[in-house]
Symmetry: C2
Subunit: 218 residues, 2 copies
DNA sequence: CTGGTTTCGCTACGGGTCGTAGCGTAACTG
DNA sequence: CAGTTACGCTACGACCCGTAGCGAAACCAG
């Protein structure tokens, strides 16, 4: 009972309850998600048809509907798989270089044709779907944010940033919104490239501005 | 010949060619665009049906299709109308205050329920539609960008920013991506409020970082 | 007033996608 | 072996899309 709560790409909870009957094909999961990404890249969100995805994956349409409730959930999982791997970022030695690295890594993901069309569309749908919003947060946003927090901790250890005794989540949120939002806007709206030079400028702007945050107002 | 090239909300080119026959109802245009915004706010992009929009507007479905090619174009015009009015921004006396004002004005538009769901969805669709991308640029993006450029010019006149002899469009683009992108990300992804305090922090970060842009690399 | 032109509302339609039901078969478990 | 669950397949009603065709309405030139 209660189907398509699986979302295998997000949370395969190793519940100890012995499952009986024929197990779900993990190969089918992978084929469906890959077919979803292919179709997204070729046709975009608007033209994406689940029947077509099932056909591409070599799977019956009913099989797809047994695992995902609809277009939104399927696409979130398909895209989230791209964000899964890269959870770490090499220490590049300075806050400036770390920000530059994070920016380039973000852009690397967002510039993919599958991600471009899917990410914005799913966020738009999430406006009227609380569950979808949480799913996006867990599967995508929090993973991005982790990289930003990682960079801040390193900078504090290096002494580049004042290590306040108390955490400042509001400032973390702001920095994250600036980095992620700027990259997304650059790619999606301005349609400009995110190359090393652009990333350097953004990093310089941020590092220069970070010091001004805790100063008293003039 | 060549229907729905009108887009009356964007460009009513006063072609001197005398039009004969029954003129198009301007009231119908307004009713359709308003009905589109209402339906967007209530149901979101995904559930938006053009037949429903026509019914809300008290207009035949065929009338709607004579003026707009499809969902994408209609929604762009419906949203663009919200961006039309506010082309100016009062001079608040300092770069810091001006940025704060621009941020609050952006948020004011983006936080509306119609805009939230429509803006992202249309940008997603524009990934595979060059004409739509240009339409969005003309109707929405350039108007936002104008505010940012206006703030920069004022700051240069005040002497807050060095008035280079040569313009630096790359820097303007960066600043615009930072402001607009950060606000959008804050509202759409982080789901956080854009209040005066948050705007103040972002403005402080930007003003602090602007000076570092033209320094030689360490 | 008359004829020409364009828009309007209305109805109807083919085509595509959605999401589900039903059935027989395949895979795995005790 | 029996029990259980997933699978492929077909079929279906429901919905929305976008267009065609019609007669009526609104405007303009003569």
């Amino acid at each position: 009972m209660d189907p398509h709560t699986s979302s295998p790409a997000v949370a395969p909870p190793g519940r100890p309850g012995k499952r009986t009957g024929r197990p779900r094909s993990a190969a089918a999961d992978r084929a469906i998600l890959q077919a979803t990404r292919d179709a997204l890249a070729e046709q975009g969100w608007g033209q994406l048809a689940l029947g077509d995805v099932a056909a591409r994956a070599g799977v019956a349409k009913t099989t797809l509907y047994r695992r995902w409730a609809g277009k939104n959930e399927l696409v979130v999982d398909a895209i989230a798989a791209l964000f899964e791997e890269q959870l770490e970022l090499p220490d590049l030695g300075s806050l400036d270089a770390d920000i530059e690295g994070v920016v380039l890594r973000f852009a690397e993901l967002i510039e993919r044709p599958e991600t471009r069309t899917a990410l914005m569309a799913v966020v738009a749908e999430a406006t009227h779907d609380e569950a979808l919003r949480l799913r996006i947060r867990d599967a995508i946003v929090d993973r991005q944010k982790h990289l930003v927090l990682l960079g801040r901790e390193r900078a504090q250890q290096r002494g580049e940033l004042a290590a306040d005794g108390v955490a400042d989540p509001a400032r973390d949120d702001l920095i994250f919104d600036v980095i992620a939002g700027t990259v997304v806007h650059r790619v999606m709206v301005s349609s400009g490239p995110v190359d090393r030079e652009w990333a350097r400028q953004l990093a310089r702007l941020l590092v220069g501005g970070l010091g001004a945050l805790h100063l008293p107002p003039p």
